[in-house]
Amino acid sequence: MSDVNIPQLVFLAVVGFLVVRWYLKPGSLADPSSSSSSGSRTASSRTGLRGEVPPQTMVRVERVAQMFPQLERRDILWDLQRHGGDVQGTIERVLSLGRLGTPPQSFQPIFPTPANASPAARPNASQPSKSAHPDLITRYNLSSKLSASSPSSGADSPAIAATSERPLSEIPTSSAAKEGWSSNKVERAQLLQRRREEMILAARRKMEEEGKGA
């Protein structure tokens, strides 16, 4: 019996040593030879990807993300991990290559959700910021259509107002409203745009008339 036990103990000791080493020195196993069969598994367990990305790692990721907001955080994390968390190195690679390597499908880190999804974390959220938004006429560039369709003067009665709207080439409101789904993407976009414009222009005309009436 004892003859059998000694090799087993030795084997266990070796395996145990390897396991401990694997956990304690994750970076040193990054060379492809040792992780050939389990490359993605090594990568994912290195960041503890069953859980969230640790905060100190997120700080590094965010530093890169601040410089390159268009980069995916997943790609950044992948690159950082493959290069020992060297922020500067990652930045240089982005600058020189214009991109980062694509991580494998199995690399699915869980990023901590930013705490400021709640109202309290929005510090200057008390007053509406003035002039942050352009009005709808400016935004959709409708000023020309406004002057073309708006009954400039003397069109107080809705009937006259309606007739002077005709310059919009077709009968307004009903034209776009009757149309339906087109199989053409461009036509769909045009219909949507027309409906938007009609809605805005109609509201604007109504508001102007109310202003005159008051």
């Binding site: 509406p128 910021s129 709808l136």
Partner: protein, 165 residues
């Protein structure tokens, strides 16, 4: 996964195009990215928002309709349930598991059987009847409660400003 979301969004777009609800226009900003929509909502009649047209941006997650979109007004919106940055806070936009206020009924919250149309209609009725229990904009909520005239004044000014008047 994303193709499920894309199909669903396209079919909702189609429904909204063929049977547009009163006072609502909505669709993707650019169909190449169907996950970002723009909506126009008319202010409900008989409210300070009457006569106004309010643009908002809807952003859909890749796992829509499992998860709800976010909705953000891209105009000045002074309302108890709209954050100052325009983000709309109503129960239909909250996933069942995510109830920051612990008062919403599960039936009011997001589920895959809700839709863009239902969201927009809910937002319309929210404009008419603010929910005082969960103010996103505390100042607007207080003003709505205590100084209604002032609240109406701000809303009316925003309505006119939004139309370029």
């Amino acid at each position: 996964m994303s193709s499920v979301a894309q199909k669903r969004l396209l079919s909702e777009y189609k429904t909204l195009t063929n049977e547009p609800p009163e006072g609502i226009t909505a669709g993707p900003v650019n169909e190449d990215d169907i996950f970002v929509w723009e909506a126009l909502i008319q202010g409900p009649e008989g409210t300070p928002f009457e006569g106004g047209v309010f643009p908002a941006e809807l952003k859909f997650p890749k796992d829509y309709p499992l998860a709800p979109p976010t909705m953000k007004f891209t105009c000045d919106m002074w309302h108890p349930n709209v954050y100052a940055n325009g983000m709309v806070c109503i129960s239909i936009l909250h996933a069942p598991g995510d109830d920051p206020n612990h008062y919403e009924h599960a039936s009011e919250r997001w589920s895959p059987i809700q839709s863009v149309e239902k969201i927009l209609i809910s937002v319309m009725s929210m404009l008419a009847e603010p929910n005082d229990e969960s103010p996103a904009n505390v100042d607007a909520a207080r003003m709505w409660r205590e100084r209604r005239e002032e609240y109406v004044g701000i809303v009316r000014a925003n309505v006119r400003k939004g139309l370029g008047l």
